[in-house]
Symmetry: C2
Subunit: 163 residues, 2 copies
């Protein structure tokens, strides 16, 4: 199977989580005595279950060799996980809806620089797929003891990204 | 009074909160099958008091005219507030330690691109002081009903930034 990335939009990504971006479709609040536009509350940060606390981290991810073959997907059964790109390169977002995993349900999105995503609790996702260059991300997720990550493995060549 | 910004470092900023950065002094965890460096848990996101939830927003702030005169400082008595710069320009961080406000206690830091800050609960701070250009920030703070912002006002010319 080959899947072709589609553009990342709030509507297309809604089954999987939130798109975090400066949106042309939303009027910002004007704060700080007129000096700041505020686009407020852009993601459902669902990180408090079972004693969880919000945690902010920085990631630096290197691109996979092409063609990109999807070999592993993960989900966090207890929490959301948000990624915001800090660099100037696009990246890929590869997801499948919560529930039983099936390769037929996998979708790929091409995120532009400045577009972050917040995976909803339980959404299957590939780890950060930088394109072009080693890329930094800011990550907001849940800090707590205990297990909060399931993985499924896929044989090489079963699911490739056509990019 | 004129205050001159000092470089933003974790040590110098410790009385006011956290610096969020890719630090050369910390060894990252290697995750994602070797493809990602993770600098984990870089700030104390203290946003849960009195029913608070973590919220992520995007700000776009225009520079103040120079010379920059500090006219207002604010604090959030119930929560921290984190700012991470998304652009390529430095910015100013102007703070005073928690407790009774006094202009003598105000300090200024010059943050480089890639350096975020997390104001500790109660730390007095000026709103985002972009330099050079309209600048985007990612903000992590507390969402809840009710009041969580105190302000103090300062006459023009009493406290200027020498930058």
């Amino acid at each position: 199977m080959k899947i072709k990335p589609q553009p990342l939009t709030k509507a297309a990504f809604a089954p999987y989580g939130d798109v975090i971006e400066f949106s042309g479709n939303v009027d910002p609040r004007i704060i700080n005595y007129g000096h700041t536009q505020k686009f407020a509350n852009l993601a459902d940060l669902d990180v408090l279950a079972e004693g969880g606390k919000p945690v902010v981290s920085l990631f630096r991810t290197e691109p996979l060799p092409r063609p990109i073959s999807i070999r592993v997907m993960e989900r966090h059964p207890l929490s959301s996980q948000a990624f915001y790109p800090l660099g100037d390169h696009p990246y890929l977002v590869v997801v499948a809806a919560p529930g039983e995993f099936s390769v037929e349900n996998v979708r790929a999105f091409l995120a532009a620089p400045g577009q972050g995503v917040n995976y909803r609790k339980g959404t299957w996702h590939h780890y950060s797929l930088s394109l072009n260059a080693v890329s930094p991300f800011l990550v907001i997720d849940r800090g707590a003891e205990g297990q909060n990550c399931d993985e499924v493995f896929i044989d090489e060549g079963v699911l490739d990204i056509e990019y």
